[in-house]
């Protein structure tokens, strides 16, 4: 059913359709509306799962870990500081192979405190072993939830999945979202039936101590499974398209890339802005397209190489930075092409941190002025009094 609702409510409806047995969450802006909506569904008797109010995000993550280990389907949502506070548990869930799904309403990290959007929070968790997906718009964010459970719960995968959606920009934006019926989602997503769980009929030990003769193998298997998940993410996106008629990409998606020479690379809601920018530039005769990274972990190196055969330059736009190195996505792209026969030039831009607006005119300008230049870690739209000499685009 099509509804004119907030992104958060679209996610809440879709989470409910996934029939989680246990939800635990702690309030933090801009995640709050998701869990408020779920609480209301529970209060109205629509949601059959348990809703557990906890004392912290650390507690929330630990509750869903326990629930999932007991054979339940579990869900949580958070952002920013809350995601950091969950961090220890997130790594633990991946190591214990518990396919929890959490939604992250991406937000900047303190200090200085900022409640506004960027991707710094998710980037901190990039080595956690979680599958990490980024949504472009509210429909995709909603649709990702049944896909995420189906990916994570696959017996060959058994990994937790983090769905990233831009805080405020998506969570608080009202758009049309098509919410499938319960029956349709049930047909797509079967009940969670793990092979092993905490069960008095078959008592097993979870969370053993691994001495040096065992630990490395658990890490090897995590890496191996991340690689295996690549094919499944594609397959389930196709399955979803077959069932619901909607496709937002598999590991990646492309826009007007067929003959593109210069290609924007980005994740999340900025893709929507970029589509308008690319249409404008195309109207002026520019051969430009968009490569959307939908799965950040596993990172789709092969798929990216496959679609970039004719591309001369990649303009990587990212809302995060690894201090002392630079843009994370920019370096992932460089490593993707290192040693390859075809090596597009990778230009790296950092923008939109802490909710800094990203107007189309800035993107058009950076597209124009970056031609023929070598660029790394170029901050876009800095205040002029701080911007270094030679900055390409300032406020």
């Amino acid at each position: 059913m099509k509804m004119m609702i907030e992104g958060s409510m679209g996610v809440a409806y879709m989470v409910m359709r996934c029939r989680p047995n246990v939800i635990a969450a702690y309030p933090i802006t801009p995640q709050t509306h998701i869990v408020e909506d779920l609480s209301q569904f529970k209060a109205d008797g629509e949601l059959s799962g348990e809703f557990i109010n906890v004392e912290s995000e650390f507690g929330a993550a630990s509750v869903v870990l326990g629930a999932q280990a007991a054979g339940a389907r579990a869900y949580s949502a958070t952002t920013s500081q809350g995601l950091l506070l969950m961090g220890e548990v997130l790594f633990n869930m991946a190591g214990m192979r518990l396919p929890v799904v959490i939604t992250v309403a991406n937000r900047a990290i303190s200090a200085p405190i900022s409640i506004w959007n960027d991707h710094s929070d998710a980037m901190v968790m990039r080595d956690s072993g979680w599958i990490m997906l980024f949504a472009e718009d509210n429909q995709e964010a909603a649709d990702m939830h049944p896909q995420a459970y189906k990916i994570g719960e696959n017996p060959e995968i058994m990994l937790p999945v983090m769905i990233n959606m831009d805080g405020f920009i998506l969570t608080h934006a009202v758009e049309t979202v098509d919410i499938p019926s319960q029956k349709e989602v049930d047909e797509f997503l079967p009940p969670y039936k793990p092979e092993e769980y905490l069960n008095v009929e078959n008592p097993l030990t979870f969370g053993n101590l691994a001495e040096p003769q065992w630990y490395m193998e658990t890490r090897y298997k995590l890496q191996e499974t991340q690689e295996d998940a690549k094919a499944l993410i594609e397959k389930i996106a196709d399955e979803y398209k077959g069932k619901f008629g909607r496709y937002h990409g598999g590991l990646i998606d492309t826009y007007r890339m067929d003959d593109a020479e210069r290609v924007f690379v980005a994740m999340g809601s900025i893709i929507g802005t970029l589509k308008d920018v690319v249409d404008d530039l195309r109207a002026r005769g520019e051969k430009v397209g968009i490569l959307k990274i939908r799965s950040f972990r596993p990172f789709p190196k092969e798929k990216i190489r496959e679609v970039c055969g004719h591309v001369k330059e990649l303009l990587v736009l990212e809302k995060a930075i690894s201090f002392g190195l630079g843009g994370v996505l920019q370096e992932e792209l460089r490593s993707t092409f290192y040693g390859q026969k075809h090596q597009p030039k990778v230009l790296g831009f950092v923008l939109g941190l802490g909710g800094r607006d990203i107007p189309p005119k800035s993107l058009i300008k950076l597209y124009e002025v970056s031609k023929g230049k070598e660029i790394s870690n170029e901050f876009v739209d800095l205040r002029p009094e701080v911007a270094p000499k030679g900055s390409l685009v300032t406020l």
């Binding site: 246990v22 635990a24 326990g66 007991a70 008592p203």
Partner: protein, 304 residues
């Protein structure tokens, strides 16, 4: 020890404990004994969540396990929350007849895990939390915790020319838990196994959140002979330093009286190397303070 994951268990002989033999605990370990008694009192229809610490380390080195019941360890500070998730999962699936126990040491409970424990107690979820109190971080090498007694020497509260050991009073964990107005909060000790097992059984019959603090001597950390575990545990009670009490809805309902069995604190302290520094001329005032702590306990709970 038996093979752990992915192997179906044989039906055990009745005399075998649910925390079975062959694990790696030290000789005379009070915590191993305490956990064994708790598990056998709870029975096999129980799921257990355990904090990081000695108990987890000595019992679950992969690919072996000493646990003959469904058992999970996640992190140091979250066994209460993990158990809360297990309880919620069971409830949602309509399995109301399975016991859920969360357990941890004194550090994992009273210090780093206090937030998760408070959340569990506040929500009054149907879980029994058991704290094995050996009064320091033993797994990492005997560092002080919030439950280390006043003047005890540990590796991070050593005695020296300027110090008599731990300068903070033992946190009133029972009081903190009881103040959540839960239906049952109690203390017990490995010195009195029947009392301990009775309390576990009693607690598991009460719906809602329950808390049990079990005093478990650690020969390695307390520096006493391993054959003295039970004697040391008994003296902690008879000196008034570890009161054995039951509380319901934040009211004391039952206590183990000491009466004429009362012993001077020195009898308890002298058996343990962690209090050795209190038996010098310069420590007389400090020894008196320990006497006062015991006296205050006895008066507060009416143990005479």
């Amino acid at each position: 020890m038996t093979e752990s994951t992915k192997t179906k268990k044989q039906k055990p002989p009745v005399e075998e404990s649910l925390l079975t033999c062959g694990h790696r605990a030290c000789a005379g370990c009070g915590e191993a004994l305490g956990a064994k008694l708790v598990m056998d009192a709870a029975g096999p229809n129980t799921i257990v969540a355990t904090s990081t610490g000695c108990l987890e380390v000595f019992s679950t080195a992969f690919p072996q396990t000493a646990w003959r019941m469904p058992w999970i360890h996640s992190l140091f500070e979250n066994s209460a929350a993990v158990a809360a998730g297990i309880e919620a999962a069971l409830r949602n699936k309509g399995k109301h007849d399975i016991n859920v126990i969360a357990q941890g040491g004194d550090g994992g409970t009273a210090d780093i895990g206090l937030g998760c424990l408070s959340g569990l107690l506040e929500r009054n979820q149907n879980v029994l939390y058991v704290c094995y109190d050996n009064e320091a971080y033993m797994n990492t090498g005997v560092q002080r915790s919030g439950l280390t007694p006043y003047n005890a020497r540990t590796s991070t509260s050593p005695s020296g020319t300027e110090s008599f050991g731990n300068q903070h009073q033992k946190k009133n964990l029972l009081g903190i838990c009881a103040a959540h107005n839960i239906p049952y909060a109690a203390t017990a000790t490995v010195a009195y196994p029947q009392d301990l097992m009775m309390k576990v059984k009693k607690a598991l019959k009460i719906p809602g959140a329950k808390f049990l603090q079990v005093h478990v001597p650690c020969p390695l950390g307390w520096i006493h002979k391993s054959e003295l575990t039970i004697e040391v545990a008994k003296l902690a009670v008879s000196t008034g330093l570890f009161p054995i009490v039951e509380m319901q809805y934040n009211k004391v309902t039952r206590t183990r009286k000491i009466g004429k069995d009362r012993r001077p604190v020195e009898d308890y302290l002298k058996l343990q190397g962690r209090f050795k520094h209190l038996f010098t001329d310069t420590a007389k005032d400090e020894l008196e303070k320990v006497r006062q702590i015991a006296q205050a306990n006895i008066e507060y709970f009416g143990l005479e």
